[in-house]
Amino acid sequence: MSVESIPVASSRRRQSVDIRWATVRAIYMIWRRDLVRFWRDRTRVIGALVQPLLFLVILGTGLSSALRGAGGGGFRGGIDYTTFIYPGIIGMAVLFSSIFSGMSIIWDREFGFLKEVLVAPIDRSAVAIGKTLGGATQACIQGLILLVLAPFVGVKLTPLAVLALIGLIFCLAFSLSAVGVAIAARMRSMMGFQFVLNFLVQPAFFLSGALFPLSGLPAWMTALTRLDPLAYGVDPIRRVVLGASGVPGPVLDQLSMTFGGHVVPVALEVAILLAFGLVLMLVALLNFRHQD
């Protein structure tokens, strides 16, 4: 080894790093790292689609047959059940992917990589923001992959609808990733993982309106569904998807989220979703700032 092989010696040592810029760079790097890992772990990407597909194909087909047999004319407003749950299944894929991507911080902590970021001359809020955006991007891609199934469930998507869906899915993915990061910010091991899955993720899925309309439910359940952030993502996605496949407005309204009998506008739903996500990201961010 020659002494000259390292290009720079002590004379080039920089004085200081601008923390604000370093933080922005760190957010970008954390996001990019998540995507590199996502791309590298393609078996996981495909594996994550299995559960949504099972729901869509088997539960969807089974229940639409049963419903047809029972009363004829299919589901409410004559919509095929598989078509009805398709937007819910997109929401499901986004839900699981977001929460688990956000919670991958626990792995980063466990396997030490988080330490490399936490000791860098950056503001630690970069971890919360970078991981939330990374998780959101991954979950968004998962959700969008499911859009290719649209023709098989009788949905014809227009380019405009696809654009709207990308936006909606990203908002949903962002909020749910923030949930995952906020949960993981305080967890030191995967011990609580099963708990989170059973007590938060599964109930959030079942209460979201992914599998049945949120109108005409018992009062206790109506209250719970209105507290479910996923519900504010599934509903607008459903309106866009069903709207694109030609379901008339009045029928759509019948299936939609309501507050005290009034249909909630999509803009308000998105605002609620984003506000929720931002609050949780703030929680996660403060958590990372104040830990040793």
Binding site: M1, S10, S16, V17, R25, G112, K115, E116
Partner: protein, 336 residues
């Protein structure tokens, strides 16, 4: 600013450093001054306060009392500036093993704002130094423990730090790999003029340092060059291996009026002239002796002398096991 007016050339300095956890005093008033370009060893058994001290110096922990300056900057007043001037090699791995060696270094260079024009050459340079340039494109999960540690050292110096902190850099590595790591570290100091601050509980490694502080129960109990510390033992060390430690201790005390130190199955004696003492010892001892070793004092003896107990090699066993379990679980589908 006060931190600039400090009259010292020390690159790492602590005054009356204290860290308490509730009622437990992990660090109780440590004073240190590490000179630029020095290899400074921090030696002590597990739980002595080494890692706590190094964590304070790296701004990962806040001291309860006292002051710590790194590169002349107070670690509590401006942790960001301290962080940008130091490099760290942790006791536990902190690499992303799904990324390649080069990607890990790129991530770090970007995080520490190594100038874009320099980045590539610098990364190639450090990879070459630790002889990993041929594996630059391999994912880190395919690396051995020694390779990972080398990569961490390369990463630690990537951003031209003034001080490189190494917390047990050779823990859990086989002797051959340990020696190689040491060769890299000395090479590094020669080329980069970097200050190395390291903790270890391997006595033989402490001898590679310019100066050593021995720490026990949160306080420094001795500080000096390896030779100075060895001189504290004064003379040669004779180790008598026997099954009857108590009887042997008693006899040596009675017959030679010496103060032997008893271990589990051996007795240690310090004498000025070992070579002439051994025959006398053998004549007088009546307990069965299985072996006698005569040696020049090592830092082990210094530690034993100062604390009355030997430093034992305790691996990172538990932590490693847990990590292995976690990785098995995550592979077998704990994660969707």
């Amino acid at each position: 600013m006060t931190q600039n007016s400090v009259e010292t050339e020390a690159v790492v300095e602590t005054r009356g450093l204290v860290k308490t956890y509730g009622k437990v005093e992990a660090v109780r008033g440590i004073d240190l001054a590490v000179r630029p370009g020095e290899v400074f060893g921090f030696l002590g058994p597990n739980g002595a306060g080494k890692s706590t001290t190094i964590s304070i110096l790296c701004t990962l922990l806040r001291p309860t009392g006292g002051q710590a300056l790194v590169a002349g900057i107070d670690v509590t007043r401006d942790p960001g500036s301290v962080r940008s001037r130091i490099g760290l090699v942790f006791q536990d791995p902190s690499l992303d093993d799904q990324l390649t060696a080069r990607e890990n270094l790129e991530f770090h260079a970007f995080l520490y704002d190594v100038p874009r024009a320099d980045r590539r050459a610098r990364i190639d340079g450090v990879l070459e130094m630790v002889e990993l340039h041929e594996r630059a494109g391999s994912q880190v999960r395919t690396f051995s423990g020694g390779m990972k540690r080398r990569l961490e050292i390369a990463r630690g110096i990537l951003h031209y730090p003034q001080v490189l902190f190494l917390d047990e850099p050779t823990l859990g590595l086989d002797p051959q790999t340990r020696n190689r790591i040491w060769a890299y570290l000395h090479d590094l100091r020669k080329r980069e003029g970097i200050t190395l601050f390291m903790t270890t509980h391997y006595m033989d490694e402490a001898e590679f340092c310019d100066r050593i502080a021995i720490i026990d129960h949160g306080s420094i109990i001795a500080l000096g060059t390896p030779d100075e510390l060895k001189a504290m033992v004064g003379g040669d060390v004779i180790t008598v291996a026997t099954r009857e430690v108590a009887a042997a201790t008693d006899q040596i005390r009675r017959i030679f009026e010496l103060e032997p130190v008893a271990d589990r199955d051996s007795v240690r004696i310090e004498v000025p002239e070992g070579a002439t003492f051994v025959p006398r010892l053998m004549r007088e001892l009546t307990v069965p002796v299985s072996a006698v070793t005569l040696s020049r004092p090592s830092l082990d003896d210094v530690f034993l002398k100062l604390t009355g107990k030997a430093i034992r090699d305790e691996g990172a066993g538990e932590m490693d096991q847990m990590r292995n379990m976690m990785s098995m679980w995550s592979r077998s589908g704990g994660r969707r």
